[in-house]
């Protein structure tokens, strides 16, 4: 077996039956959740084989979310660097303004099929909360969103959107009052209401089968990108970039590309005030393996194994963990991970806004900003795809404060 076939097989067969991506992943949760996770996995695997479910999912993605999203040639941005051509995968054009809705639709369909009547979710930037509140409104389901109070104050617009959509937003006051604490609280709710409640996790994190499930629902991003690249450029891209917090947009984009080894995959984390400071969220660059929220993965932690507080200007990347498949892809070196600071990401917002008329989310801006590092290495006959995972309207307050917009 050639090494490339071996690597392809290695990547296409994860997770294993117990939910492990190599050594990462697993199901490290209280016993009370084990039956619920088995039930969920069984339902998910049935849905994968069920044409009616797949049809309903695809119909909603097309008619409600507005898929497929375009692959937009970024002409002025490409000229700016004068190297490879740059394309943007426009997840910002999805209904609700980010890729999060792809997964929310998939999971809410599962919840309905399993007869669950109460939906809970966590949210950081609020995009997953809005997406979940949206699908719950669409199907008339009760919806409770846990959100750190720090995030509530920096993403007020999204809080108002969730409430307008009929969701109850429950502030979480523990720890740093951000995404990680919101997940703790959502898990506590799930433990207490496991019979009637479905927990829609928004990122590719958590116990098995969530990382696999979120990846599969988000993989529509990468599949469309492959088709569009073939159509628009006649071949696959040379580089594909995505930002990584928990890692759902990145894994959705990367997964269909894993077997195409000629495509270089780059994940961009949040370096906050710098990976060498204590204030960052670059888990894969600055963390060590550990267990949080049900799976083994890289983790920002103290020398005593306590979870460290992450920091990023972007609420969606402000998380001390990362999806276990990213840890696996880091160690197997199939994906390269880098990190971009708050300041640099803010410059990325300005760059894309002024060059292409697209205001990216602060999360997305990390991937945009990394072009400064990547582009000088590229050649004019190559092309790059950046996953434009979300739009920046929700971040305007933060952006205005930092960039002093006129």
């Amino acid at each position: 077996m050639s090494s490339s076939t071996k690597q392809m097989n290695q990547h296409s067969t994860v997770p294993d039956a117990r939910g492990f991506f190599g050594r990462f992943g697993g199901r490290y949760v209280p016993e009370i959740l084990i039956p619920a996770l088995h039930e969920l996995e069984k339902a998910f695997r049935e849905c994968q084989q069920d044409q009616a479910f797949q049809n309903e999912f695809e119909t909603l993605l097309r008619e409600y979310v507005g898929r497929e999203t375009p692959l937009t040639y970024a002409g002025r941005l490409s000229e700016h660097y004068g190297k490879a051509r740059i394309y943007l995968k426009r997840e910002d054009l999805c209904h609700t303004g980010a890729h999060k809705i792809n997964n929310a639709i998939g999971q809410v369909l599962l919840a309905r099929r399993m007869g669950k009547t109460r939906i809970i979710a966590e949210t950081g930037a609020g995009q997953h909360g809005v997406a979940t509140a949206t699908v719950c409104a669409f199907f008339g389901l009760k919806c409770i969103i846990y959100m750190g109070s720090e995030d509530i104050s920096r993403q007020r617009l999204n809080v108002d959107r969730m409430r307008l959509l009929g969701a109850e937003v429950r502030p979480v006051e523990s720890g740093a009052k951000t995404l990680s604490n919101a997940i703790n609280e959502a898990i506590r709710d799930w433990v207490s209401n496991v019979e009637d409640t479905f927990y829609i996790i928004g990122s590719a994190v958590g116990p098995h089968p969530y990382p696999m499930m979120v990846r599969d629902f988000q993989s529509v991003i990468g599949r469309e990108t492959i088709d569009q690249s073939l159509e628009q450029e006649g071949r696959l891209p040379d580089y594909v970039l995505a930002c990584v917090g928990g890692g759902s947009n990145a894994i959705g984009m990367f997964h269909p590309f894993l077997e195409h080894e000629e495509v270089q995959l780059l994940g961009v984390e949040a370096a906050g005030e710098g990976v060498n400071t204590e204030r960052h969220a670059a888990t894969l660059s600055g963390g060590e393996p550990g267990i949080l929220h049900g799976s083994l993965s890289y983790l920002l932690q103290t020398s005593h194994g306590q979870i460290a507080e992450a920091h990023s200007v972007s609420a969606g990347l402000d998380y001390p963990g990362v999806g276990p498949e990213h840890s696996f892809l880091r160690d197997s070196r199939r994906v390269t991970y880098a990190a971009v600071t708050d300041q640099h990401a803010l410059e990325g917002v300005r760059l894309l806004s002024s060059m292409e008329g697209i205001i990216p989310a602060l999360e997305t801006a990390h991937a945009i900003a990394y072009l400064d590092e990547l582009m000088p290495e590229t050649n004019p006959d190559e092309f790059v795809v950046v996953n434009c995972s979300g739009r920046g309207d929700k971040d305007m307050e933060t952006i205005s404060k930092h960039l002093k917009c006129p």
């Binding site: 209280p30 016993e31 009370i32 084990i34 039956p35 990680s180 604490n181 703790n184 267990i291 194994g305």
Partner: protein, 275 residues
């Protein structure tokens, strides 16, 4: 009963017929690290049969507000695993009370599994409860427990299937921890659910045959303890103890009053009536 080796099984073997075992959970270092050893002595002299010493974690996702609070208080005062092993050694100088360490896996992993079990065993720890590692998820734990003579204690919940209960029984020694209600620690089971708790414990009894069964979650009084443990070998109190300590600390007689609270938990107000 699987193990005849340790202090835990000795407690169950040596009790009189019908006596209920009371296991108390205390976050190590709460309310202050310097008081833990003396507080444990007080708990023991007031009727505690087993001590569960909580290893505080920053993200205790199976715990309610009370134990979250106690964990934070302990962590803010610098409690870590080495400090806890020190406390256990100190307790062991004059006490044979079975000590079970209870906490989340990440600090243990970070410490190093081998090192952790070696240190735990040397210090005089008898058992371990790691709520975020259910049986089968980290098989090396069971080997290390066996090697170091530490009882692995696993949990069953109302939604655990009969088959899974039998697996948990197989994997455990010392006792099986029976979570009486679906919820986080401190969650309260109302009167209306006590009937379903009784049915649940009966089901546990049918499937858990190798180990004694202790029931926990939501027990706040002697009456709760009597009701919930009627069909079990005993009961576990955690959040109610910590809430009580919180209400009296740091008054000068807080430890004295905690002792009285514990005595009442076990024996009721009229201490002449034994459980």
């Amino acid at each position: 009963m699987t193990s005849i080796k340790g202090r835990i099984s000795r407690v169950f073997r040596s009790r009189s017929d019908g006596d209920k075992i009371m296991s108390l959970f205390l976050t190590a270092g709460f309310p202050e690290p310097a008081a833990t050893v003396e507080l444990v002595r007080k708990l023991e002299s007031s009727g505690a049969d087993i001590l569960e010493l909580g290893m505080p974690f920053s993200d205790p996702l199976a715990d309610g507000p009370t134990i979250q609070y106690a964990s934070k208080v302990a962590l803010d005062q610098g409690v870590n695993l080495d400090a806890i092993f020190g406390m256990v050694r100190e307790i062991r100088r004059e006490s044979e009370i079975p000590i079970v360490l209870m906490g989340y896996i990440n600090p243990v992993l970070r410490y190093g599994l081998e090192a952790f079990f070696l240190k735990a065993s040397e210090s005089g720890v008898d058992g371990i409860i790691i709520p975020d590692v259910p049986p089968g998820e980290m098989p090396e734990l069971d080997g290390l427990c066996q090697q170091h003579n530490i009882d692995p204690i696993y949990l069953v919940a109302p939604n655990t299937s009969d088959e899974r209960m039998r697996e948990v029984d197989q994997a455990s020694s010392g006792f099986v921890y029976c979570v009486s209600v679906a919820g986080v620690t401190g969650a309260r089971s109302g009167d209306e659910v006590s009937r379903s708790v009784a049915k649940f414990i009966d089901r546990v009894r049918k499937n858990v045959t190798r180990n004694p069964v202790l029931v926990g979650f939501g027990i706040r009084s002697h009456a709760d303890a009597l009701a919930v443990s009627a069909r079990a070998d005993g009961f576990i109190v955690g959040s109610a103890l910590i809430d009580y300590i919180r209400s009296v600390y740091p008054e000068p007689d807080w430890m004295q009053r905690t002792g009285i609270f514990v005595r009442e938990l076990k024996y009721g107000r009229d201490s002449s009536i034994k459980v």
